[in-house]
Amino acid sequence: DAGITQSPRHKVTETGTPVTLRCHQTENHRYMYWYRQDPGHGLRLIHYSYGVKDTDKGEVSDGYSVSRSKTEDFLLTLESATSSQTSVYFCAISERREGPGGDQYFGPGTRLLVL
């Protein structure tokens, strides 16, 4: 998991509470991504960042917000968690040296359970 950490690694929370997941990289990569992985759906992009303070929505962005105030940190916030947001969340980084999409490097994941 090349220089990418995610915190927390596991979290149990209740419906309606805010939750923030953190992704930290030491690779100085420009692009950072948040995905969720669910059985039967594979990996789906939530939000991504193409630079400090530059973020955009992915395929499943409803109910999520992100912030990137430093190159190394990308935060994912669930403003008011719902049971449908129970999932495994992965952060990824890329420099896109190989072209669009780039070869991405993934963090270890965060397991989130919303009761």
């Binding site: 995905y35 759906h41 991504y48 992965f90 990824a92 072209g99 669009p100 999409g101 993934f106 994941g109």
Partner: protein
């Protein structure tokens, strides 16, 4: 929006045999990538093949790309128990999607010792 679809969904083979997984996609691509995911871990990038390439090798991995059929295959030769994992294809569309990858649902490979 699912771009890549892997086939089969699950594959079980004996150690030493070859494993072949296929990926089909719908729209034009800039490149196609394969990733591996061991149980409970993040994805690991294996190989990237560009739209103007037809075949690429990396160790025991061989990837082919047929843009006319919009399909790719991943061949793992002389498989080992350690190859047991889920394998995902991901496409970087030629246009749109802001250049982001779109992942398939994966093939679960089980290699029995």
């Amino acid at each position: 929006s699912q771009q890549g679809e892997e086939d089969p969904q699950a594959l079980s083979i004996q150690e030493g045999e070859n494993a072949t997984m296929n990926c089909s996609y719908k729209t034009s691509i800039n490149n196609l990538q394969w990733y591996r995911q061991n149980s409970g871990r993040g994805l690991v990038h294996l190989i990237l093949i560009r739209s103007n390439e037809r075949e690429k090798h990396s160790g025991r991995l061989r990837v082919t790309l047929d843009t006319s059929k919009k399909s790719s295959s991943l061949l793992i030769t002389a498989s080992r128990a350690a190859d047991t994992a889920s394998y995902f294809c991901a496409t970087a569309p030629g246009r749109g999607s802001q250049g982001n990858l779109i992942f398939g649902k994966g093939t679960k490979l089980s290699v029995k010792p």
